[in-house]
């Protein structure tokens, strides 16, 4: 035990106050000044709770059941509210996972940055202004003055995360807690933000507690790793050592779950492509809102591509590059403004025509978000059964097919009557996959099917998917921005940037000898982890190279949200007469 430890957590247990259920059990660890510590573990293992408990910011429903936390030698539970507030922000800073909700949408950036300074640093207004502009510049915000006046919604996700970082680092805390700070960002931006964070921490001698389930990131940047599973610390140690030679079975399992490249699959040559897309163009209609006149936005500029029967074609690209749009257009969920799709050599034509119907029944889709792609009010069996609706099966046949589909995705028949919220994320995605393949389609579009899942679950779902694909031989368009995943599943890869295909080729061509700059940037963003003989992993740089500029994520997310809010206000509509 190091007496100078910045943080010392000793036997910390947390429980749900109402039920007494333990969510964190006797966790002990230390963080030394200036040290970079990573916490990894599956979803729900208590990472966030531990981190929040350090600042006594655990949710009201969660109660400390035992153990102690000392920060700079002082027991945080013994601090008076005032002392605690001095620690919060002043000595410990925190960056959250979701850039969209971690900044106050109704406050200007200046106010949000200044707030902390006013609290913790006794400096004048001019000095504060200087500090803020300095820090914003350091995190790479261009027009600083303008940025200070702006509201959060005027920035892309990556920018917001930088601003978030700036607001925390401005106070020069001794410890920075980063709870999955980059999960919501695309690979290129992710790299930039993490490097910025680590860079700042290094120069300011700030210790960092980085929570992530992205092992390659943890492996790349941290000094030490803590592995958590089901509320307990199962293993901790220096990063390199732990990665190279994991001791605990859970750690091994975790490392084992890293996607890796498999030998290329042999695809039987076919007389013609199953799906052929020619000159596909999609425009998003102008949304003319209250205060602006929108103009039509072109999201796809004449895409050509072909998918062979049985082939997995991966579509990669930064956020906003048009991957989802492409997938949805091919699935017929968007009407293209130009170009056409042929299925099995026949143009699919208009909605309602026989060719369209044939295509519709043979083209299925798996969505990114397992929580929203299943109707919360339908049992699993009903959801899967619905996809068989158009097959004219007897009830008994249908039941049998549903059971079969469930079995295929590794869910026991006892899951039949559960509702989506009674399943874990991974299980839900299995259901979604079962629903898509139950009808034996010849073509499946999968839009980021695993990006919402944690490492171990992701590996299982990917295996399952590969297995099903091999068994039923459907062709697949696999959309993802996670290169590691693509590397594992794809036969061929298409790289997109700003609505155009910039490069395509076989998986090995793209990964081993990328030609286009953008592809290179993408590949250089995140290192791969590759297994060592001893059951551990080591980092492998895909390419040596520079990263590209910030890719702007478009705003426009909140329109729906606002409308809902207005609707709900009607709850207070007064009665008929008073």
């Amino acid at each position: 035990m190091n007496p100078q430890a910045l943080v010392r957590v000793d036997g910390l247990s947390l429980e749900v106050a109402a039920s007494g259920k333990r969510v964190v059990e006797s966790v002990s660890f230390e963080v030394q000044p200036g040290e970079l510590v990573g916490i990894v573990g599956e979803s729900g293992s208590g990472k966030t709770m531990v981190a929040r408990a350090l600042m006594r910011l655990e949710p009201v429903a969660i109660r400390r059941a035992g153990g102690s936390i000392a920060f700079e030698g002082r027991d945080v539970h013994a601090l008076s509210p005032k002392e605690l507030r001095a620690v919060r922000g002043g000595r410990v800073g925190m960056v959250f996972q979701e850039p969209m909700t971690s900044l106050n949408p109704a406050m200007r950036i200046r106010a949000q940055l200044e707030e902390g300074l006013v609290k913790h640093c006794r400096v004048g207004a001019d000095e504060r202004h200087r500090l803020m502009t300095d820090m914003l510049r350091r995190v790479g915000i261009g027009d600083v003055e303008q940025a200070l006046r702006a509201y959060p919604h005027e920035f892309s996700g990556g920018m917001r995360q930088r601003i978030m970082l700036a607001s925390v680092m401005l106070l020069k805390p001794a410890l920075l807690i980063a709870d999955e700070p980059t999960t919501a960002l695309d690979a290129v931006v992710q790299k930039e933000v993490v490097e910025l964070m680590v860079g700042l921490a290094r120069t300011e001698q700030t210790a960092v507690l980085m929570i992530s389930h992205d092992l390659s990131m943890v492996a790349r940047y941290t000094d030490r790793v803590i592995v958590m599973s089901q509320g307990e610390v199962v293993e901790q140690g220096p990063t390199a050592q732990l990665m190279a030679a994991p001791q605990h079975p859970y750690t091994r399992k975790l490392l084992d779950a890293m996607p890796r490249r498999l030998a290329p699959k042999v695809i039987a040559p076919a007389p013609r492509p199953l799906v052929e897309v020619k000159g596909l163009t999609v425009d998003y209609a102008a949304r003319s809102g209250a205060f602006r006149k929108g103009e039509a936005k072109r999201a796809l500029h004449g895409i050509d591509l072909a998918i062979q029967p049985g082939e997995v074609l991966a579509v990669v690209g930064g956020s906003g590059s048009g991957k989802t749009t492409l997938g949805r257009a091919i699935a017929g969920l968007l009407s293209p403004s130009g170009g056409g799709i042929r299925f099995d050599g026949m143009p699919v034509g208009e909605r309602g025509q026989p060719a369209w119907r044939d295509y519709r029944l043979n083209c299925q889709m798996v969505f990114q978000d397992p929580y929203s792609s299943l109707d919360p009010r339908m049992t699993i069996a009903a959801a899967i059964g619905e996809s068989l609706r158009h097959l004219a099966l007897t009830a008994a046949r249908q039941t049998a097919r549903v059971d079969e589909a469930l079995e295929e995705v590794g869910l026991a028949a006892s899951y039949r009557d559960r509702y989506p919220h009674e399943l874990s994320g991974g299980q839900r995605q299995r259901v979604a996959i079962a629903r898509a393949v139950a009808r034996r389609p010849r073509f499946v579009i999968a839009d980021e099917p695993v990006s919402a899942l944690d490492m171990t679950v992701r590996a299982q779902v990917l295996d399952l998917f590969a297995d099903l694909q091999a068994r039923h031989g459907f062709a697949c368009m696999f959309i993802s921005h996670d290169l590691a995943v693509v590397e594992q599943v794809a036969d061929r890869v298409v790289v997109m940037e700003q609505g155009r295909i910039v490069e395509q080729g076989s998986r090995d061509e793209i990964f081993d000898s990328p030609r286009h700059d953008y592809t290179r940037t993408l590949l250089s963003a995140i290192p791969a982890l590759e297994p060592t003989g001893s059951g551990g992993v080591k980092l492998r740089w895909r390419l040596a190279g520079e990263s590209a500029g910030v890719l702007q994520r478009q705003p426009g997310v909140l329109a729906q949200q606002v409308e809902v809010d207005l609707g709900e206000t009607l709850l207070g509509q007064p009665h008929v007469v008073r």
């Binding site: 929040r52 600042m55 910011l57 009201v60 509210p81 507030r85 001095a86 620690v87 919060r88 922000g89 002043g90 410990v92 800073g93 925190m94 959250f96 996972q97 979701e98 909700t101 971690s102 900044l103 106050n104 949408p105 109704a106 406050m107 106010a111 707030e115 902390g116 609290k119 913790h120 509201y151 919604h153 005027e154 978030m164 607001s167 106070l171 949304r287 809102g289 209250a290 205060f291 602006r292 705003p555 909140l558 329109a559 606002v562 809010d565 207005l566 709900e568 206000t569 009607l570 709850l571 207070g572 509509q573 007064p574 008929v576 007469v577 008073r578």
Partner: protein, 314 residues
């Protein structure tokens, strides 16, 4: 911006048209007419026919409507059947009186209810929360005609602090006018508290779950600062919209309060003219109420970005 306002106002035209047709049809569907009411149980058929003719009630309904519409387009809302005053100034006068009461009451209610709702949300499920929710439900569930009577008996009679009847216009004696407005305002205020608290509490609860609240705490802000600077702004939006709806709705609904406190306001005018079948006045009142409703909601929407800057971005 201006074109937005113009467009929103233009959107009100069909609404107002529907209101006028519906009102016209509805009030004439209702049996009873002003002529027989004016003559009462003594009406001879001859006298009734005379009066109906003079009031233009013997024309066909579409004809009456078209006449009314044509006059309306010239800015003429007609004449009250009972008091023979021109409708427009009559309705506007009464509107000013009601609007003042409603506005003051709702604003006061907001000032009390929003913080109360926020505190309840802040300490969700605590005794404070329970007390606030319970009290607001209780206030909500007392009809205003009872609440008004209680207020009247307490402050007017038992304590004798406030005048029981009468009304003084602001133009005449502002201080005295205020005195006469206190009880109706208090009654509406108590009632609206109930409505607003629940909304404020619910929307604060939504906001308190979000990351930036935790972030604000993580910055070392005190609970007061967190609630006021971070939670308030973001949770006020829906409450604000509700206030608009309440304002718009109350105008047509304060008849009861105006009756209890003898305030010559729009609500009483409306109810009186409904019971008295004073068609031009009913139509005038309703057009005004609908227009105000549209207008208030427009203003609410225009000011909404103050509480939620994201909305402008749309």
């Amino acid at each position: 911006m201006l074109s937005f306002i113009a467009r929103r106002l233009a959107m009100a035209v069909p609404t107002l048209f529907i209101v006028s047709v519906a009102v016209f049809a509805l009030v004439r569907l209702v049996p009873g007419d002003p002529a027989s009411l004016m003559l009462g149980d003594l009406a001879t058929p001859a006298a009734l026919a005379d009066l109906r003719h003079r009031l233009g009630l013997d024309q066909s309904l579409p004809q009456q409507y078209l006449t009314w519409l044509a006059n309306l387009l010239h800015g003429d809302l007609g004449q009250s059947i009972t008091s023979q005053q021109p409708v427009l100034p009559l309705v506007l006068d009464r509107f000013v009186i009601s609007a003042r009461i409603v506005l003051v009451a709702v604003l006061l209610a907001a000032f009390v209810a929003v913080p109360a709702g926020m505190v309840a949300a802040w300490r969700q499920d605590s005794a404070v929360d329970l007390a606030v929710v319970g009290l607001s439900t209780l206030l909500l569930s007392i009809p205003t005609f009872w609440l008004g009577l209680l207020v009247l008996l307490l402050f007017g009679l038992k304590l004798g602090w406030l005048p029981v009847v009468g009304y003084v216009g602001f133009a005449e004696a502002p201080g005295k006018a205020l005195l006469y407005l206190l009880m109706p305002v208090l009654t509406l205020f108590l009632h609206e508290i109930g409505v607003v608290v629940r909304m404020a509490r619910a929307s604060t609860l939504e906001v308190l779950r979000l990351d930036y609240i935790t972030h604000a705490r993580a910055k070392g802000l005190s609970e007061g600062e967190v609630m006021w600077r971070h939670a308030f702004h973001n949770s006020f939006g829906p409450t604000w919209t509700l206030l608009g709806l309440v304002l718009g709705n109350l105008l047509g609904g304060i008849a009861v309060v105006e009756t209890v406190f003898t305030i010559p306001g729009l609500g009483r005018l409306l109810v009186d003219s409904i019971f008295g079948r004073d068609y031009p006045v009913i139509q005038g009142c309703l057009l005004l109420i609908a227009f105000v409703y549209v207008l208030v909601n427009l203003v609410v929407d225009l000011l909404y970005p103050l509480f939620d800057p994201r909305v402008t971005a749309q």
